[in-house]
């Protein structure tokens, strides 16, 4: 294996995932100081990248209160939505629907009864007036 080819394989070689080129690269690395140096450079880079995870970056000061506000608003919204769903589910309950239907029917009957009674009373008054005129 030539250095040019070795350079193509070194970035994957540091993962120790093997592969068909691994044994040829092993042999090349045993005899080539330059490519061993390349491999060391990639390992250093990999180590430095892994160390970055513990080195955090300071967020802007406004972000924490803004995030907490956003979360509180979302919690409130979820509560309202949950309450609205509860009302909708109650209305969708067949027993509640039957009770509502019965209530509407009773209200209708009561209104009808009142109207009929009023009509009869008006007819009676009208009849009495006519009788009085004839008399």
């Amino acid at each position: 294996m030539e250095c040019r080819e070795a350079a193509q394989h070194i970035p994957s070689y540091i993962d120790q995932s093997g592969g068909p080129a691994a044994s040829a690269l092993d042999a090349h690395l045993r005899t080539c100081d330059r490519c061993r140096g390349e491999l060391d450079a990639y390992r250093d880079l990999q180590g430095a990248l892994a160390a970055l995870a513990t080195q955090t970056i300071e967020p802007p000061a406004w972000l924490l209160p803004a995030t907490i506000d956003a979360v509180r608003s979302r919690v409130r919204l979820r509560r309202h939505v949950a309450a609205a769903r509860e009302v909708r589910d109650r209305l969708a309950d067949p027993r509640v629907a039957a009770a509502g239907g019965a209530a509407i029917l009773l209200a209708g009957l009561a209104t009808g009864a009142v109207l009929i009674r009023g009509r009869r009373r008006r007819r009676l008054v009208s009849g009495l007036r006519t009788a009085a005129v004839h008399a």
Partner: protein, 202 residues
């Protein structure tokens, strides 16, 4: 990130104060990952906020099979990748799934004579990461910085595991171009054996 189990359990029971505590304890880590993935402070702040709103819905599904930090990083990266996709569409940039960066060349970064202590290296690495195209940056940040598996990286980016692997290797090459090939100048400035790349001295 150190979030006590008791805080997580209270969050799962719907305790809003515990959730605020969780935000306080983890926001710095979430923001750091978001910034490293998006490369933009405004986008990172938006991603951090959206991550917690998503967490509010999904925290009950955390079963403790993985570490909480690993789980939270997955949620964060998923939100960040969605944000990157939206940004790419909005600005007509190369989509994350594409491989159109073959001819991209790394800009020169940092002062080649600077001594590389750990903090400086971290800062230069972060700066180099910000200069990588989004698709390269995402794969190297998820895999090499935060230790995601290649399968997870592929899933998040919507590419195969093999494609994620190829992209990772290219991203490492680009990063090395930006950082490690400055070693000869550093070796001259700081003496032999102090640069990160011994091979470059030949």
């Amino acid at each position: 990130m150190d979030v006590p189990t008791e805080v997580i359990e209270r969050c799962q029971q719907g305790d809003p104060l515990a959730f605020e505590e969780l935000i306080r304890l983890s926001q710095r880590d979430v923001y750091s990952l978001a910034l490293r993935l998006t490369g933009n402070p405004d986008d990172a702040a938006e991603v951090a906020q959206e991550t917690y709103l998503r967490l509010l819905r999904s925290i009950k599904s955390f079963r403790g099979e993985a570490k909480f930090s690993t789980w939270l990083y997955r949620v964060t990266s998923s939100v960040a990748i969605t944000s990157l996709r939206k940004r790419a569409r909005r600005r007509h940039e190369v989509p994350l799934e594409n491989e159109e960066w073959q001819d991209w060349h790394a800009p020169a970064s940092g002062d080649p004579g600077a001594e590389l202590d750990r903090r400086q290296l971290a800062e230069r690495l972060d700066s180099a990461l910000l200069n990588l195209p989004a698709g390269y940056r995402a794969v190297v940040v998820m895999r090499d910085v935060y230790g995601f598996s290649l399968e997870e990286v592929g899933d998040q980016l919507g590419i195969s595991e093999g494609a994620a692997k190829v992209r990772l290797h290219r991203a490492r090459q680009k990063l090395k171009e930006m950082l490690v090939e400055e070693a000869p100048a550093q070796a001259r400035a700081t003496g032999p054996g102090k640069g990160p790349s011994k091979g470059e001295e030949e």
